[in-house]
Symmetry: C2
Subunit: 545 residues, 2 copies
């Protein structure tokens, strides 16, 4: 039996586009004489469709896509994920299902039982969990069809669910297992995924075809990396990450375990490629081509600009330098050098006059109150107005350049440097931004060395440095990581040897600045816990604040 | 048996504050010789604690609060909601539980089975559903203890769950039922709640004590309105809305059905009181006292200002008038009249110079490109910078004045008039803003009549009116309501008789403007479907866009 995998980049709600991609893959699979072609979870409508699922109209469009795909299943079996209506009045109205289409009709449907409802996932918001499990015979082979999380309750110390769908299906003695997934990237996830697949195959001793979604949907980046597993527990082939791909396998070859193709894994390489794809899809799927970035001469805007140039082409990224009276000469020089290295159009707009204009209006009201964060913010917000004006006039999406460390502690100006349609490095700690800059420069200097080596500064008051008000980033990032990704409390972090006062101060800063993050652009997610949909904390809380 | 109800305003994560409130109520109940005192769902930590629940440290603080409450249960039974740890390794780590404390120890715990995971609710994100149900005997009476949603699967045409906890518990023949709730306000919800309580009592024929949370937690406003139900299906007493309260009941009186106290229900009155409470708690729980509002002379900022004045006191609300070259004289006059009616401090800062300052910088870049939304936005954003500067300098939280109609169609400037820490009327359609203004003026003119009667305008270009680019609000709001609250698709709305082109244009505007709403302040929720946490739609989608 020949089984094809199509690892595709879907677009939420773009039914025509998704259908066309699948039909093209079906044609290819037919040319290869495939018996079966597999797509990923909720491939008809894209993943995650979120509250669009609550519209009957949207579900009808999913059903229509299934019917159209069925028409193409005359000679080939098609495995594809789509929502399906729950015929029972009690319970949620939908299932998250995997279909087998063949002979121009729906041959078989299995619903998903384990509904991820944590981090960025909300599946129990929409779907009823399956309680019945069966397998299907196709061209003489018995197949266990599963959806994403259904295979993830195996190989964990603290399983999230009380049932395990394959334990039920395995009683039928299937010849192989298919899993249709929409499993998003984080820089630890590819390893975790291989671990879970191995645990499954070791338990059931069947070949497994794991088909993942690739492509970004707003902040969530699906990395692909579909995997074919041999029944002996080894990887037969791991597909490339961050790109679409077709593959075809002979089931016998997989059973006999002739190959073993693995992809390289490296945190910074993966973050780099994930963000480039994230930017590309944000623009492409929204129908935009051009970005604008405020370039300060610092490392955050430099890295953001390079990533944008790699995603969109340098000709589509416009940069603006907006020095204030507190900007150093080297900042302007470093920013110009970067723009020139990238061959980019740049404008220089000094903001002192704008700042003075605001202060003229406000000084009768402020009277003799001293310079403080207010005046710093006026500079940042004047830049925001300029950048957004250019965004509006020329149709460039403004990219936000905040890093995760500063977003965490609120070291940024709401409606100022926190402006932008997409946060590019908002899930990258400052220490990783430096590593990313070095990775970018690995084949030659793109980001000026001075941008990387000088002490970080917001340059909003004379001789300001980040380290005036924050601890060194090496320490800050470690504490933040333990709190945000690690979900450790203050006592646990202090017990690891960090200074109590510092830990309490940092955790407090994180918690009292939730109101700023609430109003931030979507953040491209590269870690296991990004700000945004995946981290939901009350603004008006009094915990650690 | 004497049963006390304490309808209290909790604060998320404020363990000391919540404990102190409950101890005070326990003292009162003891003085009244109550046998039992009842608090609401997750009263120890406040509701909804969201991802704070993922911190062991937070759960330990909940457990410590339970232990402290138990110490006060020497002579009185205490019914209180709190998270509890799941001892089983499979499944989620927590239950959402109701405790009975007595004799200084935990007498009984029942876990919640029906976990709301829709709209603003995310309970299955954190909690394992109960599968076992029992009742408890306390001082000779058998009690069925339930948590919020556990009684909501009754009386619906399309029940969300496949189990019904009280169907199991009723086999024990309990003497009465207690339900501890955190059931948030919307202007249809009090009716729905009474309907569900009646359906329960009619089915089980037992008295029921329903104890709700009161008070706002960021955007979600809990309205109180706790209810005591007679076994014959009638209301014995409905507690007041939007305020704390203690009550004590003799079980025999409730069984015999001597009273019937109901609260008045009126949509606009409820919205008014809900928003006033929402503002008050947002400020109070964050530790702020003062607000600032940009006053345009239009109805949205006028209504917002009055509601803020009623929540915080007029002396704590500062208003700023920022006319541009396109502002009409009457706008300034109307705004001044409002400020004077309220006895409020106001400043006037004309923004033409600031606008010209930006245009001076940008005109070499914009060259001969015509005036468009860019220049409109520069005005709105200059105002944003001024307001935020005053917010920063004086510690006033800026209130956002956008209404739901304009937020829906994207008729607002991101980082301009969409600035602010809290959206006051962002869940109130424009047509309801007018009704709210009339309600505010019912005992005498507060909002100048001209503000109410003149045609709405953003005044960002010469002679601009909202109706230049939007349909009349009566039509717009009806279509929006059917799409947003009603979750009807385009075909269904058109089938109701609305113009097809208009419907498609409006739905498209809603969907393509999700990126703006994503960056908006939390919106005080008064409808069944507010923008924010309760409505999760993809930015990068292609549905109806």
């Amino acid at each position: 039996m020949k089984i094809a995998i199509a690892q595709l980049n879907y677009h939420i709600g773009n039914f025509d586009g998704n259908l066309a991609k699948m039909l093209k893959a079906i044609d290819w699979a037919k040319e290869q004489n495939a018996d079966l072609v597999c797509f990923s979870e909720l491939a008809t409508c894209g993943y995650p469709p979120r509250d669009f699922l609550e519209f009957d109209d949207f579900i009808n469009l999913c059903d229509e896509t299934i019917q159209k795909l069925a028409q193409a299943s005359d000679e080939i079996g098609i495995v594809v994920g789509s929502p399906s209506k729950n015929p029972v009045i009690e319970g949620k109205d939908l299932f998250n299902s995997v279909y087998l289409l063949y002979n121009k009709k729906v041959e078989f449907v299995q619903h998903k039982a384990l509904l991820p409802t944590y981090d960025v996932f909300d599946e129990y918001r929409y779907f009823e969990p399956a309680t019945e499990f069966s397998t299907v015979v196709f061209k003489g082979k018995r197949i266990a069809l599963t959806v994403c999380e259904d295979i993830w309750n195996i190989g964990n110390e603290n399983p999230l669910y009380t049932v395990c769908p394959l334990d039920e299906m395995i009683a039928d003695d299937p010849d192989f297992i298919i899993n249709v997934s929409a499993s998003p990237f984080n820089y630890d996830h590819a390893e975790a995924r291989i671990h879970v697949l191995k645990a499954n195959v070791k338990r059931y001793k069947k070949p497994m075809f794991y088909v993942n979604h690739v492509g970004a949907q707003t902040e969530i980046i699906f990395d692909g990396g579909s995997v074919v597993m041999r029944p002996d527990g080894k990887v037969y082939e791991e597909l490339p990450y961050f790109e679409e791909g077709y593959r075809i396998y002979d089931l016998e070859d997989v059973e006999q375990g002739k190959e073993n193709i693995l992809q390289p894994k490296d945190k910074i390489l993966e973050i780099h490629d994930a963000i480039v794809l994230g930017i590309k899809d944000y623009f492409g799927k929204l129908g935009f081509t051009k970005a604008i970035v405020g370039l300060s001469g610092g490392i955050d805007s430099a890295v953001t600009t390079v990533l944008a140039a790699r995603a969109l082409g340098p000709e589509n990224v416009r940069v603006v330098l907006m020095p204030s009276q507190f900007s150093s000469d080297h900042s302007v020089n470093d920013a110009v050098a970067l723009a020139e290295n990238l061959g980019m159009q740049y404008d220089i707009i000094p903001i002192k006059d704008l700042y003075d204009g605001f202060m003229d209006k406000l000084s009768p009201i402020f009277k003799d109150l001293p310079f403080n964060v207010t005046e710093e913010n006026i500079q940042a917000r004047s830049r925001g107005v300029l950048l957004m004006a250019m965004s509006n006039k020329f149709g460039n999406i403004l990219l936000n350049t905040s890093n995760k460390s500063e977003m965490a502690v609120g070291y940024g100006t709401l409606y100022g440097d926190m402006c932008g349609g997409l946060s590019v490095i908002g899930d990258v700690y400052k220490t990783d931004v430096f590593t990313l800059a070095e990775y970018i420069n690995k084949d030659g200097v793109v980001i000026p060395i001075n941008t990387i080596t000088k002490p970080p500064s917001a340059e909003l008051r004379p001789n300001q440095k980040d380290s005036d008000s924050l601890p060194e980033y090496e320490i800050l990032d470690e504490i933040l990581y333990k709190y945000i990704e690690g979900q450790l409390g203050p006592k646990e972090i202090i017990a690891l040897g960090f200074d109590e006062k510092l830990v309490r101060r940092i955790l407090r800063l994180v918690n009292i600045n939730e109101f700023k993050r609430y109003q931030t652009a979507p953040v491209l997610r590269v870690s296991s816990k990004a700000f945004g949909m995946g981290r939901r904390v009350p603004i008006v809380g009094k915990y650690l604040s």
